[in-house]
Subunit: 401 residues, 2 copies
């Protein structure tokens, strides 16, 4: 009973380690400390006073900087506050309470609304749906993104399907980047609902960890090309570029959708924090500035991804499979009896995202997926945590054998 | 026909002046320029890293600083983003989509929702109601706040009345501060709707312009005292304390309402911009720091209020009446044929808030109220604008005589 002894030893050590959330480490945040002294000027490029009210869409210079990175024309990009999650939440609120372009009615008047949720996926997307009583239907992910045969069938057949959540690049938590063919099919497929929308949470657009950069097809352009110009809502932020709590967020879409979005936000606010926008422009400068900054993140984060891969390979053998992403923030581990493994880890002082969190309603039907968030702990803590996690997997496997 | 000749002269001068919005002047914003170099440390008082995710309620040190100023216990105060308008908007969204404490159903399920709107009032409050199809019923303001006989009757009789908008101190636009008796009656009155709420937009809580400081009774305490603990939603912000676009906002209420509010915002965001909170704590320091800063504002703003009062007294005679507030941002002018006066002023290059904007649906039944926002222009421009406005009032009066 080697594994049981190892687990007893692990508990004995009284660890207190946290792998729950995708938080940048203090050293990553240090990379952006210059932001605390910026901006040096409150004047925007067009001369307006960044300290006062106004400019609902956000400063042109910041939109131009992020337009190529998010694959949205600058004039179709809107800058929001410090949280892209809030922009996504509010976009659903707007759709519930004000008809989206092409809709027959407000979503709140629909008898049922369904969102497709590629799994494993991001728990905070699911939480928004649960809050508003939006039914979630899981769709399995494969190495090219969501299973498009399933997506195409459900979207074509069921007019209650109003949306699909996508993290298309270095996906949370599997690290998969959608293939060109997947993106093309998403843009081209027929939809029963005239107001069907793709919620394109491009959270890791620039978050490469190696020299192999994943390339993502241009969803907005492809939607327009296939006669579905209003299909895509694009979201992004600098939360994991500059500072997690003090970044800027983005909404991008077709001209009609942007007009709808701004008409709604005009009732909500007199304008965003433009000093924080100026701070970001001055700090990041241009596309190359962003890339250079992300290379510094990669120097800190890539060794952690390598470490997780190495420890799992050494300790788990064939007791699990896991992804080895070249970017993003997460690694997805598949094992038997995931919930029990997570409970065992917790008892040993290793906090993991709850098993099931990667699935709608917290229900992983196969009880297999564990999301690993390796960025926050330092290398030593991470090695302890992953080694400990492997001990838990082995202990559970041995018991269940 | 003196007034017509004066008006012709005015048009000839080709002015371009803007009195539309309550915007701080560049010199007022200069007072807070030190914020651009802050914070000097990203550590909160409890040691947490202000740069990372988290702390949905906001930093304790900032809540403690503003608790006495907003008359809300620090533990019942929540810090929001840069816009209290967004907090008000989102509070209504939350009430529409998630039952408020005491409610029988979500507001979106109610056949009709009515808000009482003391008039003259703030147009952006009305815009939020219009967006969501909330019926607005005007209630006349007097020198002590809204006519409480009317308010008490409507709130007691009509269960569709779910809210009332109040700017209780240095009210927008009349400058009136609610009397103790008005506040007591608001707290104590019976309401037909169990989920009736007072939307207490205390935007000008610390915005004294003279040594005569208006005192406002403590609504939250009075509501609790009268067995209506959950009746008040308190809002505030530093938009007109520090920087209009880059301040912090506040939501305060009873423990049950705060729990409800945070449960909703927890689905919306992983936390506010805490660096901006630290910036504000470091810059404003304490209650006396806020008061000292507001005195600097008053030195810039009070001469403008005096000027408006002086010019109107000299030029208008008995052709109008206006308020002479000792605080806040606005002066309310009452004249005959207000819409025509505003149109004349516009033709002469003087932009005013549209006539009627101070009333629900933009309809001022008496066509009398003009909101004057004197803060943004410098003294010379302001004198030109108010003198020109008086010319327009006289020209219209002469024509209509």
């Amino acid at each position: 009973m080697n594994a049981q002894r190892d687990y007893a030893d692990l508990v004995q050590r009284g660890l207190s380690l946290d792998l729950t959330r995708g938080k940048p480490s203090p050293r990553q945040l240090d990379l952006a400390n210059d932001l605390l002294k910026l901006p040096t000027s409150y004047k925007a490029a067009d001369g307006t006073d960044g300290r006062n009210y106004g400019n609902l869409q956000g400063l042109a210079e910041l939109r131009e900087l992020f337009a190529p990175l998010l694959q949205v024309p600058a004039e179709q990009l809107v800058v929001g506050g410090n949280s892209s999650l809030a922009v996504m939440h509010d976009t659903i609120v707007h759709a519930l309470l004000t008809k989206v372009p092409g809709a027959e009615r407000r979503w709140v008047e629909e008898p049922e609304i369904t969102f497709l949720c590629p799994v494993p996926g991001y728990d905070r997307h699911f939480t928004i749906c649960e809050r508003f009583g939006i039914k979630m239907v899981p769709v399995p992910m494969n190495g090219e993104g969501p299973d498009m045969d399933v997506v195409e069938r459900l979207v074509a057949e069921d007019a209650s399907v109003k949306g699909i959540w996508c993290v298309p690049k270095y996906s949370n938590p599997s690290g998969v980047t959608y293939s060109d063919e997947t993106v093309r099919r998403l843009a081209a497929m027929s939809a029963a609902a005239p107001d069907f929308r793709i919620f394109w949470d491009n959270a890791y657009a620039v978050h490469h960890l190696t020299d192999t950069h994943a390339e993502l097809a241009d969803l907005l352009a492809l939607c327009a090309e296939h006669g579905n110009a209003d299909r895509a809502f694009v979201f992004g932020s600098t939360s994991k570029v500059t500072l997690a709590g003090s970044g800027v967020s983005f909404f991008g879409s077709s001209p009609a959708n942007v007009k709808w979005f701004l008409a709604n936000t005009a009732k909500q606010s007199i304008g965003p924090d433009k000093l924080n926008q100026l701070r970001h422009v001055e700090f990041l400068r241009d596309t190359e500035g962003v890339a250079a900054h992300m290379r510094k993140h990669a120097e800190l984060v890539w060794p952690k991804f390598e470490l997780v891969d190495r420890v799992l390979a050494k300790e788990l053998g064939d007791l699990g499979t896991w992804t080895s992403p070249q970017g993003g923030y997460f690694i997805s581990l598949e094992v038997s009896h995931a919930a029990e493994v997570v409970a065992r880890a917790k008892a040993a002082g290793i906090a993991l995202t709850p098993a099931g969190a990667t699935h709608p309603y917290g229900q992983d039907p196969d009880d297999r997926t564990i999301r690993i968030a390796p960025t926050y702990p330092d290398l030593e803590e991470l090695e302890q945590a992953i080694t400990g996690l492997a001990v838990c997997v082995r202990a559970v496997a041995e018991e269940r054998a």
